[in-house]
Amino acid sequence: MPEPVNHQVNAARKTFQTLYQISKLLNTNLDQTTLSICIRLCENGVNPHALANVVKELQREVKAMNDGQLESSASKTSTTK
């Protein structure tokens, strides 16, 4: 790859790292994959407030689902024991 492109790619990576560190510091619970997807969405012009809203909702639902599953499995195990 040509030098400038390499440089650009490196810069992008560095930026990404920095952003990821910021997100970790802020306890956003985003992993790198999800963060990259979100970055892409933002690059495409998605409103970040809306996006954040969506992500939060999804995270919440997932958590609720997992909690529900855990409870049911715990009750099952207790009944079986």
């Binding site: 560095k14 910021i22 802020l26 956003t28 495409n44 407030h49 999804l58």
Partner: protein
């Protein structure tokens, strides 16, 4: 958005859903999520991103981290943000403000930022760290907790579940710096890989640990030494101050004590620095410390087994013992202050100290505070340890201050009494007077200035009480300490509230300021109390409000004036301080400019809330615009008061000599008191004159009692005389009052009801002269006029009235004697020559009497009463207070009384006049032809009597008027041998020898004044001895050469004491005969 972009977004969303929820695309959940996401992304209601808001949010977050104490986190966060913003060229990106989009996104997703920490930035397992430098994108580094490893000293255990060959290369690398810093970023470890030179570690870990331990030991020790203090004072026996340079001088203490066999105990040594500091602490708080011990309350001593290395214990003690005295002084003064608390005594009544004591204490505290500030500064200086501080240097610095403390303590001992035992007013008045006494009798300028300061500060309480009383009419003395007190007295079964002065000490009586204050204040207090009683005190308040909006308190005004007066004396000193003063003036001007600027800005702002907040600093003119609040006094007052007192002290210090404070104080006080409180007296006077018509009353009294309204009184007394002489039942008060009322109502209808006549005693005489003595004319007055016209005053008026009545009666009687009654011309009998002679004699007698009594009467009513009346009126118009009116009126009355010869010293003259008046009775009785024929010898007597009276009166009156101070009896030397009778106890009645000198003097006097008869009179040479009066035959005077006048004169002296000396014959002829007989 273009379709492609939308498609991209759609795809990305799907991936997002999968990443977050782990749903597969064909799941129901996935579809629901997809629908949800799409609708929210497409149809949101959010505004576009505001970069400023995002920046503010980031800043707020940084602040939040700081507030939570996570400074490292805040710093890291800021760094990350900065590097993020600078790392990529966001301008080139097609998405506008992408960086703010991303940051906003992250901020919206942030949760629980208060739990953020830098640990979260450490790489966890499976994470990749990208490093621009390495080029090795896929290297995974695992972080080993080196600190933990080192501290525990364990072997390199390391569980790595991921197969990675590269890590074993650097697992043994250690770095000392990392044990302290847990916040090691992965980049640091990566850096280690980059051939940064590291000290090659010798792998003897035991030796490492030992050296580390040693190093730590040293560091800890150093830290302890610099930060933590051991309690060496509890282990004094072992305390020895290490001396750097051992020589004879520096370690004399040890040498002495080692060689001194009597030393049984060990001597501890401290550094001089420590002792100096402790000395300074003792000035701050007087209690037991290491070196100084408290023996008993307020007594301090030096510990005996302690010293500094360069002094023996004895020397140490002797240099520090003088300070113990000062500790005691300070302790006493502080104790006095702390004792001034409200306490309960045995009867569990609340005892409170006088406010004067509290003010005095405040003044004392200021001195102490200044001293303590100095002490603190000295200590700071010593702590720097830049100069050489020894006991000597310290005592030199302290000397001036300790001197002041000594003076203060000395004064304090003399003036303070135990307020718990003595009543407050005693303590307060004693304090003030003693302070004044100290001030007057002090021997140094410093002492005088301190006394002045303390005195003025303590006096503020009294001045406040006076101020409140005289300006608002309330004597508010909450601690019962003022010397004037309101007392309820029972006088004639009436509860009268009066003001009395309570002064106990002799010292108070000699205090001129106290006396002066009392005089003036009592005098003004009367006016105020009168106003309060008249319920007109609001007039004063109104007057004051009109005069000045900002009423300065008496204290401040006094201090201003005092400053002004004192500054008059400080002129020569000013020249030397011009340089300093110029600087001060510049500073002041500068301050003034700034102030003006501020005020200008404030006033242009028109912000009332701001003005209210700044009210303390603004002049009152601006503040007047405040219409919301009630009018308040400037609270700047208290600050200015403090400053001014201090200024006063400073001004006093500038002057090189002692000031005549008594004069200054008196003058200033009197000026201020007069200026401020005169209005009350004037108001009272105006009220009395305008509303209660005082002058009208006085005039009326003069009309009646002094008979100035002749036409009215004429009618009255003629009727009265007629009734007395003709009406048997005249002695009826009601009857006489009606008579009076009848006449007065014609001329003074408004006031005629106030007059009444009473007759006391059971009188049934027809003789007017006796009747008059039992008649009293009353004039009813109510309060407040009764303050001026008291019972005594009216009694005096009555006396004058009675005298006038007698004179009038005499003249009336004489005038009513008609010649036809005597001559009886209707009778045809030829009168013989003797009869004619008698008639003529009687008629001449009548004329003589008329002349004599008439001249007395004219003199009295013309010269005396008229002129004095005019003077009285004139003075009354100029009077400025009620007290002046009262005193002027009383003076007038006593003058009239004196001129009417009603006083004691003119008793003999009065007797003569009474005799003359009585003679009128005799004349009237004999005023008929028949009676006259039988009264030949009586005529003789009467004539001679008249001559006596006349001559006596003439001489005596002349001398009384012209030489009223001449007391003849004083010219005579005492001859004590004659005195053994009770009759002569009164020296006025004492008959003594006339010496040659006195005779000459009396002759001089006599020649200067001629009686109306024109005959020059000489003073008789005759002297009397007491025994001569016993019988006519015995003892005659030694020198006998009596001329006719002398005989007459001597005889007049005789007849005065007629009752006492048994004179057989009252004729001068008889006396002459007797003397002649004696000579033969």
């Amino acid at each position: 958005m273009s379709t492609r972009v939308l498609n991209d977004i759609h795809n990305d969303l799907k991936q997002l859903i999968t990443a977050l929820t782990s749903f597969e695309e064909d799941e129901e959940g996935f579809r629901i999520c997809e629908r949800f996401c799409l609708s929210n992304i497409k149809h949101h209601r959010y505004l576009s991103i505001d970069s400023h808001a995002t920046k503010e949010a980031i800043n707020a977050l940084v602040t939040k981290f700081s507030i939570h104490g996570k400074y490292e986190v805040a710093k890291k966060f800021q760094e990350l943000i900065d590097s993020f913003l600078s790392s990529f060229d966001f301008e080139q990106h097609p998405q506008y403000d992408l960086q703010w989009y991303l940051l906003t996104f992250l901020l919206d997703l942030s949760t629980e930022t208060h739990k953020s920490n830098l640990d979260s930035l450490k790489l966890t397992r499976g994470e990749h760290s990208f490093n621009a430098g390495t080029g090795n994108e896929d290297s995974v580094t695992d972080e080993i907790d080196w600190a933990q490893y080192l501290k525990e000293g364990q072997e390199n255990f390391f569980c790595n579940y991921k197969s990675d060959d590269s890590e074993s290369e650097w697992s043994d690398l250690t770095e000392e710096g990392t044990d302290e810093n847990d916040i090691s970023l992965p980049t640091q470890i990566c850096n280690i890989q980059l051939d940064i030179a590291q000290p090659p570690k010798v792998s003897d870990s035991a030796a490492d640990k030992f050296s580390l331990a040693l190093e730590q030991n040293l560091e800890s020790r150093k830290w302890f030494l610099s930060n933590v203090q051991t309690d060496w004072w509890n282990n004094l026996k072992c305390q020895k101050y290490p001396i750097i340079k051992r020589s004879c001088d520096t370690s004399i203490c040890d040498i002495w004590h080692e060689t001194n066999l009597s030393a049984v105990y060990k001597v501890a040594t401290l550094s001089e620095y420590q002792v100096c500091r402790e000395l300074l602490w003792m000035f701050y708080i007087q209690t037991s410390m290491v070196v100084f011990q408290e023996i008993s309350e307020s007594k301090f001593s030096i510990r005996s087994d302690i010293s500094i290395p360069s002094l023996t214990t004895t020397a140490f003690k002797s240099i520090l013992t003088p300070f113990c005295e000062y500790f005691s002084m300070m302790y006493d003064i502080e104790k006095f202050g702390s004792d001034l608390q409200l306490t309960y005594d045995q009867e569990s009544e609340l005892q409170s100290p006088p406010l004067t004591y509290e003010a005095y204490n405040a003044a004392l505290r200021q001195y102490l505070y200044e001293f303590k500030t100095e002490v603190v500064n000295m200590e700071k200086d010593i702590m720097k340890q830049e100069n050489c501080n020894t006991f000597l240097s310290l005592s030199a610095k302290l000397r001036r201050h300790l001197n002041i403390i000594k003076i203060i303590h000395d004064i304090h001992q003399n003036i303070v009494t135990d307020w718990k035992v003595n009543p407050n007013w005693k303590c307060a008045s004693r304090l003030l007077s003693s302070l004044y006494y100290e001030m007057q009798n002090s021997y140094s300028r410093e002492r005088t200035n301190i006394c002045i300061n303390l005195y003025l500060r303590s006096l503020t309480v009294y001045l406040n009480i006076i101020d409140t009383w005289l300006s608002e009419g309330r004597l508010e003395d909450w601690r019962d300490e003022f010397i004037i007190v309101r007392v309820t007295e029972d006088e004639n079964n009436e509860q009268i509230e009066k003001f009395t002065i309570r002064l106990s000490d002799n010292i108070c009586l000699t205090d001129p300021i106290m006396q002066f204050l009392l005089q003036k204040v009592q005098h003004m207090g009367h006016s105020i109390e009168l106003l309060v009683s008249l319920d007109r005190i609001t007039d004063i308040w109104r007057m004051d409000n009109e005069d000045n909006d900002m009423r300065i308190s008496l204290n401040i005004e006094l201090q201003n004036k005092l400053l002004f007066e004192i500054s008059k004396y400080s002129l020569p000193v000013e020249e030397t301080d011009t340089a300093l003063q110029l600087d001060e003036i510049f500073l002041q001007e500068h301050d003034a400019d700034i102030e003006k600027n501020i005020i200008q800005q404030l006033s242009t702002l028109h912000n009332p809330f701001l003005m209210k907040a700044m009210e303390d600093y603004m002049p009152c003119e601006l503040y007047k615009n405040d219409t919301v609040d009630a009018h308040v006094h400037n609270t700047h007052d208290s600050k200015t008061k403090q400053d001014q007192i201090h200024n006063l002290y400073k001004e006093l210090q500038k002057i090189k000599y002692i000031l005549p404070m008594q004069n200054i104080l008196e003058k200033t006080l009197s000026e201020i008191l007069m200026l401020r409180y005169n209005s009350a007296s004037i108001l009272v006077k105006n009220i009395m004159i305008d509303e209660y018509k005082l002058q009208t009353h006085l005039k009326l009294l003069r009309f009646v009692y002094m008979m100035e309204a002749g036409h009215v009184m004429n009618k009255f007394y003629q009727m009265l005389f007629y009734e007395i002489e003709n009406n048997q039942m005249w002695a009826n008060s009601y009857f006489l009052s009606c008579l009076l009322e009848e006449i007065f109502s014609q001329y003074w209808p408004n006031t005629s009801s106030r007059w009444s006549v009473t007759v006391h005693g059971n009188i049934s005489t027809r003789q007017v002269l006796q009747a008059v003595n039992s008649i009293t004319l009353h004039y009813t007055v109510e309060w407040p006029i009764s303050i001026v016209l008291t019972k005594k005053v009216l009694e005096k008026y009555n006396e004058i009235f009675r005298f006038q009545l007698k004179l009038k009666w005499a003249l009336w009687t004489l005038n009513n004697l008609r010649f036809c009654d005597l001559e009886d011309s209707r009778s045809s009998c030829i009168k013989d020559r003797l009869e004619q002679f008698q008639i003529r004699r009687l008629e001449s007698l009548r004329f003589w009497l008329l002349h004599a009594i008439g001249s007395i009467h004219t003199y009295l009513s013309g010269q005396v009463l008229q002129s004095l009346g005019f003077i009285l009126e004139k003075v009354l118009t100029q009077a400025d207070s009620l007290d002046t009116i009262i005193s002027v009126h009383n003076e007038y009355l006593s003058k009239v009384h004196e001129h009417c010869l009603l006083t004691e010293e003119f008793k003999d003259l009065m007797t003569t006049i009474n005799n003359m008046i009585e003679m009128c009775i005799h004349i009237r009785d004999r005023w008929s032809r028949k009676k006259l024929l039988l009264a030949a010898t009586e005529l003789d007597v009467m004539e001679h009597n008249y001559i006596k009276y006349h001559t006596y009166l003439a001489l005596a009156l002349h001398n009384a008027v012209q030489h009223k101070d001449a007391d003849y009896y004083k010219l005579m030397p005492p001859s004590a041998a004659c005195i053994d009778s009770k009759l002569f106890e009164d020296s006025d009645k004492f008959i003594k020898l006339i010496t040659d000198l006195s005779r000459t003097l009396l002759t001089e006097i006599a020649h200067q004044s001629l009686p109306p008869s024109g005959i020059p009179l000489s003073i008789p040479k005759l002297i009397y001895e007491r025994t001569w009066q016993m019988s006519s035959e015995s003892l005659l005077p030694v020198e006998v050469s009596l001329n006719e006048y002398e005989q007459t004169f001597s005889y007049m002296r005789w007849y005065q004491y007629e009752e006492q000396f048994f004179v057989l014959n009252s004729s001068s002829c008889t006396l002459r005969d007797e003397i002649k007989k004696y000579h033969r």
